[in-house]
Symmetry: C2
Subunit: 306 residues, 2 copies
Amino acid sequence: MPRLLLLVKPSDLPAYQAALQTAQLPDLELVTTPDPDVEIILGDPALFRSHLQGLPALRWVQATWAGIESLLDPALRHDYILTNARGVFGPLMSEYVFSYLLLRERRILERLAAQQRNQWSPALTGTLRGKTIGLLGVGSIGAHLASTARHFGMTVRGYTRASESCQAVDRYYHGEDLLKFASGLDVLVNVLPNTPATHTIVDAEVLNALADQAVLINAGRGSALDDSALLAALQSKRLSAAVLDVFREEPLPPSHPFWGVDNLYITSHTAAPSFPQDLANLFIENYRLYINNRPLQYQVSFEQGY
Amino acid sequence: MPRLLLLVKPSDLPAYQAALQTAQLPDLELVTTPDPDVEIILGDPALFRSHLQGLPALRWVQATWAGIESLLDPALRHDYILTNARGVFGPLMSEYVFSYLLLRERRILERLAAQQRNQWSPALTGTLRGKTIGLLGVGSIGAHLASTARHFGMTVRGYTRASESCQAVDRYYHGEDLLKFASGLDVLVNVLPNTPATHTIVDAEVLNALADQAVLINAGRGSALDDSALLAALQSKRLSAAVLDVFREEPLPPSHPFWGVDNLYITSHTAAPSFPQDLANLFIENYRLYINNRPLQYQVSFEQGY
């Protein structure tokens, strides 16, 4: 009988417990504190990371987050199967990205300001239709963003290491073609994971390659972005706006220059929250594979880092 | 050689002329002032309405707007084919409706307020997924809204006179089932045209039938809404927000109580603008049908009023 250690935020615990009980998983024993017989962990990396070494029977860890960088540390054990949260974030990330793109196109803030003066403001709206969006990374999140962009009539470019599997991407770019990919984009969205290859991938050259008045959205990792280059591009009005969910240091320190920049939207790492029901469902699917000795979904390679 | 009278806003005129010239329509003669040989009008109802009676050769009018109420006046002639603008507004209306729905779910205004205090604000976001949207009217605009709602994982109800042709609607309601349709909706969107049957269709009973904290969006006609009932529902916090594009009097008078209401967004009849290129394309398609004596798209019945 596999013993599962559930380690999530206290406020999320009841929702996870309820979802797991409803699923009536065969032979599963649920505990919420570590003990030597724990074979499986379902939890937040920040909460279980320090317990990994003390669990001799550990075989599988299902992280409730997408970001598992903290588990790649060579000082930690890597002799277990690590699966992370994927598949569940695509729709949320679409809501995130398109909420801000539409906020800009529809001039919502300008209209609200006019409303506060009791002023009818028929200024013409913009549209996403016909614009070009570029996705840095086209995994399950990027694929959902691509389908949403298509729905709104945008042209979609994708930049990946090699894969070209998403039908909603109009054109793929790889490797050295980063600047060709970025050239003339109206919107650039980064959803790449944090790996050495993605450090500062959005640099001054990439930003300069975008269309005039482009919008940058970073929902991958803070390390992907050259902060100073972005500041310069916003202050010179070359870019029309940036939406940042992730930062090199989180929470973003109150003294950081980003806070006061016009048309820079700070969303405090809320783009794609791990809703307990979604993550419990993902675990349940994987658990059914696990007890049948079948390969699990969303396995992370400790070598590749994703 | 059919003579076309083009009567649009002066600022739109060059875009229309360019689009029509590019299309090289056979045998078309373009004029911008009325004369007795005019056979076709392409224009804004407000601009050509007063010229209708003086055009003996008139056979067809392509309006650049969806709203053609002013042409139904029994004092005006009705002995021509009237086609209005349809098909082109669906994508724009989706951008409009979902911009405000996502603004609310993502708490964009709250996050912007926190940002002005240099404050990291990880408050949990909401999601459209799993919520239920009701569409009052499922023509080409409602059908596009339905497809967008589906894309975001919403359940879709449609209220129509009889039609059930849109696949993206999960369940249809008609006639006396208006309150059943409205019952428990998280979002109600009105896109019905202005006809006697739609006057004040969104009344206190309908608003009371919605789910607690529902959002109302009126992008049809101002006459569809009971203004006082909406004010009461917003002030009592029964509804969480309303987004109004259209009003019984436009521009909305500066003294109207709507201006100062919390969570009421006034968008000044900008939801679905008539972009010249879209309307020119619509005219061009219809013109090709016209010269081949085939039925035109989007004909309006003077009797039914739509």
